[in-house]
């Protein structure tokens, strides 16, 4: 049975505060980062209070406990996304580092001048800029699957995708859920299309990993990346999944302790994955915190979380569509959408909206959402985004809608 989501708020200490002016916190900035349940905060403290130690190289009691816990976190991630083998799980700082790792290590070993890296027009800077850096280095070309549809229902142009998927495309990197539009891409379908031309795939699951079930084998992707802090876990930890056979062919990216087999003055050899890609002391405590976050999410059930977040976002879209002068992006109000709503008010700039809403205790995000070229294409300098997670409620949407109406009046009036 899915839990009663309104009861969950008790698990999140941060929600129980009143802001300046006595207003309760209405946190709708979950696409930027989510809050952490007590279970995650306690897992961190517990590690430092009982088991703190370096991993891998230790033979004493604490070091063995820390090594076991770190290994258990890796195995838990493998189970969380149904990877075949814990060795396919590399801990990173977050989504951004995972993309950079693949863009630098894989591209250096595999990309030749004239090759194409295919992206989409809805990528976050973190799944765009690393490919620019890597492609420029080898003289490869970046191409983009365009977004089509009117502003109220934007999506990838699949016909254009098939035309763009030439044999020159060596890797296709795309987001699962757009953090700006709230559009969900059909990952399995996109991976299958890429596979037909022999292109590898990297999926940016930053916006989906904490919201819906992920099965890397069913999706058929080669790489998948996400961030712990966007799924109720700590900051500073994230995951790169890579197919085992592929990881073992990649050269290391960073060098240092823990990733070497043998070091000589001039040359070294490497351990296999995952160690090869985890140079230096890893972020042990936060990996253990992420473990607790995955347990927390799976106790609720990710299908229930996805339903909850999607329902709230749909409600919000319907409620907001009524506000005069609003322009909603992404799926049409009434159609299914991921857990966020992005919009612009005719008379109020995004920053002014966010500052105003903040005075009502509402945390929103305004700006380009790390998606500058897309915003330019849409002809919008910026949008406001409300994004939802398991602890949000319908009452908070009512508060949001009322606040937006006052804003529209404040800036549009006179």
């Amino acid at each position: 049975m899915p839990a009663d989501f309104s009861l969950l708020r008790a698990d999140f200490p941060v929600l129980h505060q009143t802001l300046a002016g006595g207003r309760p916190l209405v946190y709708l900035d979950n696409a930027a980062t989510t809050h952490k349940p007590r279970a995650v905060i306690d897992a961190l403290s517990r590690f430092y209070e009982r088991d703190n130690s370096n991993v891998h190289r230790g033979l004493h009691a604490l070091s063995m406990r820390a090594t076991d816990s770190y290994g258990a976190a890796r195995a838990r991630v493998a189970k969380f996304i149904n990877a075949a083998d814990p060795a396919e799980i590399i801990f990173t700082r977050g989504t951004t580092e995972g993309v950079n790792l693949v863009a630098q290590s894989w591209c250096a070993a595999n990309l030749k001048p004239g090759d194409v890296v295919l992206l989409t027009e809805m990528e976050h800077h973190s799944n765009l800029v690393p490919w620019q850096l890597a492609a420029h280095r080898v003289g490869a070309t970046l191409r983009f699957v365009p977004i089509v549809g009117d502003n109220a229902e934007l999506g990838l142009d699949l016909d254009a995708l098939d035309r763009l998927l030439t044999p020159q495309v060596k890797i296709f990197a795309f987001t699962h859920i757009s953090n700006t539009l709230g559009v969900t891409n059909n990952v399995a379908d996109l991976c299958a299309r890429a596979r037909r031309v022999g292109a590898l795939t990297l999926v940016d699951a930053a916006q989906s990993a904490g919201h819906e079930p992920l099965d890397v084998r069913a999706l058929g992707c080669d790489f998948l990346v996400f961030s712990g802090h966007k799924m109720a876990g700590p900051t500073g930890i994230g995951v790169l999944y890579g197919r085992r056979a592929l990881l073992d062919t990649l050269p290391p990216w960073q060098g240092g302790g823990g990733m070497i087999a043998n070091v000589d003055w001039q040359e070294s050899t490497w351990k296999p994955a995952p160690e090869r890609f985890e140079a230096g002391t890893p972020n042990v405590a936060d990996a253990i915190g992420l473990h607790a976050a995955m347990d927390y999410l799976d106790t609720l059930g990710r299908p229930a979380i996805a339903a909850h977040d999607g329902t709230l976002a749909s409600c919000a879209a319907v409620a907001l569509a009524e506000i005069p002068g609003i322009r909603l992006l992404g799926p049409r109000p009434g159609s299914p959408r991921a857990g966020l709503v992005s919009f612009a008010l005719k008379d109020a700039h995004a920053h002014d909206v966010v500052t105003f809403a903040d005075q009502d205790g509402i945390a929103l995000r305004g700006g380009h959402h790390c998606n500058q070229p897309l915003m330019r294409k849409l002809g919008l300098p910026s949008t406001v985004r409300a994004s939802f997670y398991l602890y949000n409620t319908e009452a908070e949407i009512v508060t949001l809608a009322a606040s937006l109406r006052r804003i529209q009046k404040f800036f549009g009036g006179a």
Binding site: H351, Q359, G367, P381, S382, F410
Partner: protein, 146 residues
Amino acid sequence: MSDFDDLYRDIILDHNRRPRNRRRLPTANRVVTADNPTCGDNCTVYLRVEGGRIAEISFEGSSCAISQASTSIMTSQLKGKTVAEAEAAFAKFKNVVTTGRAPEDEPEQAAFAGVHAFPARIKCATLGWHAALEALQQPDQPPPAS
């Protein structure tokens, strides 16, 4: 909402709704665009400098109310000023938005005193000023292509 009302004074809302000197200046001999990478906002300032004085000044760009209003007010304040006078005016304005202390002799600048309670918005208030001051340092340029 006292902080908020303090941030959005009537004078700011007025300049936001009806910005002064908001246009391209075909005769400009200095043009600088300033970006706020944090949010993607930008502001282009056009100057015609003659004999060390700002003969004409205008701006374009997309940005928030604070930025629109402060740039609008800046253009009306800097017209006719020398470089040194413009720098002094900016120093005064920066002081207002960082300390919140409102100068009695400058009601338009004083309207921005509320910004200091919103440190993340200080960049918005100074975006246009930065562009103008940078333009004043530059050599003369040919007029902007149309």
